[in-house]
């Protein structure tokens, strides 16, 4: 048991940070996220840098968590964890689950669309004819998939593994977004004055932030441990906990920061709205619980 990053884990995280910096810095990258865009250049830069050469699943999850915490708009974290099998050529990735009704993150802009169809995968050819961008305010570009128009290569027997890793990476991204949302809220509380005092001096608010921080920290470790064991049940438990955390944090942090948290200029929405979006992608509590109790994946 060791809760500190190994040298190798530190190296991959630092490498990702360096790529973000070299690609114009975090301010540029974050500005893309503020507008719910897609940072194709950064996605390519991360892939070209070979950050994950030889990385194990936990290191891949740490990258996904880190990129979510930085608030960038790439599919690299998702791809790093889900597409570990080297099936796809380079490029941005969107992953849909057949049978789910909602739109899919990055589906209209990514280079590759992979659909999980029961036990199989479909690597969709010419994805643009199957997707329609939708209006959405959850921090990512979303698009609807026309499931009846899916043409592509069917890959037998890989659906469950991809679905499990999709669950894992979504939980990891919740962990990263949660940590960032708390850090931003704390920074705001230290500066914002009301009634002649900073918000950070009001115990009612301090305790609410502390409770949120406990949930966020626990989410990190639930996800990291699940990535280490790669046990589907651990992954489902981590996903359930991550979804609970997202549901807990968003109204709390929005309430603490006040009306400015609705504005794009304040920037908290990148994390809070993504937290909502990611938990909705995971599914509702009953869906997640059924999956844990059945010991099988739900979609």
């Amino acid at each position: 048991m060791d809760y500190n990053f190994s040298a190798s884990q530190q190296r991959v995280i630092a490498a990702a940070d360096r790529v973000v910096e070299a690609a114009g810095g975090i301010e540029r990258a974050f500005a893309v996220s503020v507008a719910a865009g897609y940072d194709r250049d950064l996605d390519r830069a991360l892939a070209d840098a070979g950050v994950l050469d030889g990385a194990d699943l936990l290191e891949r999850v740490l990258i996904a968590e880190r990129l979510a915490e930085l608030g960038v708009a790439t599919t690299y974290g998702l791809r790093s964890v889900v597409a570990v099998d080297g099936l796809l050529p380079p490029g941005g990735l969107a992953v849909a689950v057949l049978g789910r009704q909602g739109p899919v993150r990055y589906a209209a802009v990514a280079d590759h669309l992979v659909v999980i169809d029961g036990d199989d995968l479909i690597a969709v050819d010419n994805a643009t004819k199957s997707v329609t961008t939708v209006r959405s305010g959850f921090g990512y570009p979303y698009a609807r998939i026309a499931s009846e128009e899916l043409d592509g290569t069917r890959l037998k027997g890989m659906g469950e593994a991809w679905r499990t890793r999709l669950t894992l990476v979504t939980a990891a991204e919740i962990a990263g977004n949660a940590a960032a949302a708390i850090a931003r809220t704390a920074a705001h509380m230290r500066l914002r004055e009301q009634f002649g005092r900073t918000l950070s001096t009001f115990q009612a608010l301090r305790h609410r932030l502390a409770e949120a921080a406990v949930s966020a920290e626990a989410t990190r470790w639930m996800v990291r441990e699940a990535a280490f064991t790669a046990d589907p049940r651990d992954i489902d438990l981590a996903a359930s906990y991550a979804a609970q955390t997202a549901a807990h944090l968003v109204p709390e942090l929005v309430q603490i920061c006040g009306a400015r948290s609705f504005t794009l200029e304040f920037g908290l929405h990148v994390f809070t709205m993504r937290l909502v979006g990611l938990r909705l992608e995971l599914g509702g509590p009953d869906r997640l619980a059924a999956r844990v109790l059945a010991g099988e994946s739900v979609s």
Partner: protein, 377 residues
């Protein structure tokens, strides 16, 4: 970062489980930790653990331990807490009273007390809280006035567990009345049979757990009972409290109750009521979250890194887990919980204690907030 138990740690857990299986009667797994203490069985069990080197394995070998790691300390706690804590109140001895004596005791104190603790022959209570100093422990008013080679103690401690059976009290008293807050406090290791030391049960609704009032009336004790420096005991107290806050791994037993509820749900076909699937998973995740945060604190302890923040987060998560499991138990078992010996009553009462035993959990929220936001003044 990795989450694997070492071979040695696995072997240690297996060894403990074998001892529990062989030595602890079945009904113990139904008990709330602390419900039975100071009984002939708890002494007998502690002596058995002592003979096997399992009572205080995490202590230094020089003091009767076997230099086991903090990981083995938490494994010990998890297994025994899940088994109803058959060490009775002696878990406190090995978790923090003994370590405090190791850290701050004189050679005479170590010689006198540590052997008794590691042989499983002694029970202790803690004289901490007062009517005006519960969470605000530093506001304590119990006074110990130096008189030559003695101290004369006057005051009152309340809500003290295990005092009826305890042979010694780990007592905090103010030795410098001019000092305020956490300055001017000293620790005393006091036999409860000392003249002027009286113990009175405080009736409570907890029923699975007893409370006592300790009164000190001109209690005259040798200065040699003082542990550590005069007026400057706070560092020792802080360290002891850090152990106390996560020393009883409540999440382990709460996880066990959750598993039992899941079994009952299957046996009684409860699947359509009270959102049970979602709540069982919420309970399981809460227990696991607490466990992982406790492990984070243990990891820091094992490496000699600062652990206060991790301990605070872990404590908050532990309390949550107890409460979530209690609510689920009550909702599922309904009026069955009204019986004192029911699982629901036990879980309710232990959850009520969780946020207060070892200090109010709000103090931990303060400490977490301080790390995030600064002192807040």
């Amino acid at each position: 970062m990795e989450f694997e138990w070492s071979t040695e740690e696995r072997r240690f857990r297996d060894e403990l489980r074998a001892v529990i299986e062989a030595e602890v009667p079945d009904h113990w797994s139904e008990l709330i930790p602390g419900e039975e203490f100071g009984t002939e069985f708890t002494y007998e069990f502690c002596r058995t653990l002592a003979e096997k080197g399992l009572l205080a394995p995490h202590w230094p070998a020089a003091y009767g331990g076997r230099d086991a790691s903090p990981w083995q300390f938490i494994i010990l706690g998890e297994e025994l807490w899940s088994a109803g804590e058959p060490r009775g109140s002696q878990y406190m001895n090995v978790n923090w009273i003994g370590p405090a004596i190791i850290a701050a005791g004189t050679s005479e104190q170590k010689k006198y007390h540590l052997g008794r603790i590691t042989s499983g022959d002694v029970t202790w209570c803690q004289g901490f809280s007062e009517q005006g100093a519960g969470t605000d422990l530093a506001n304590m008013q119990t006074r110990a006035v130096r008189d030559g080679d003695f101290y004369v103690v006057n005051g009152e401690k309340v809500w003290t567990s295990y005092a009826q059976e305890a042979e010694f009290c780990f007592l905090l008293a103010r030795t410098d009345p001019e000092s305020a807050g956490n300055k001017g406090i000293s620790i005393f290791l006091v036999p409860t049979a000392t003249r002027g030391f009286t113990i009175e049960r405080i009736p409570s609704v907890l029923d699975v757990h007893e409370f006592n009032r300790l009164t000190f009336s001109d209690m005259r004790i040798p200065a040699s009972y003082r542990l550590g420096p005069e007026n400057d005991a706070w560092r020792v107290i802080r360290e002891a409290l850090a152990h106390e806050r996560i020393g009883g791994p409540r999440y382990a037993r709460a996880a066990l109750v959750t598993r039992r509820l899941a079994e009952m749900a299957a046996a009684r076909d409860w699947w359509d009521r009270d959102g049970i699937r979602t709540r069982l998973v919420a309970a399981e995740t809460a227990c696991k979250a607490a466990r992982l945060l406790v492990y984070q604190a243990i990891d820091a302890r094992a490496k000699g890194q600062p652990q206060d923040l991790a301990v605070s987060r872990a404590r908050v998560a532990i309390v949550r887990s107890e409460r979530i499991v209690a609510e689920l138990t009550l909702d599922l078992l309904e009026d069955e919980c009204l019986e004192r010996d029911s699982m629901g009553n036990g879980q309710l009462k232990t959850a009520m204690i969780a946020g207060l035993g070892g200090g109010s959990v709000e103090v931990q929220l303060n400490m977490i907030a301080r790390a995030l936001l600064g002192p807040g003044r």
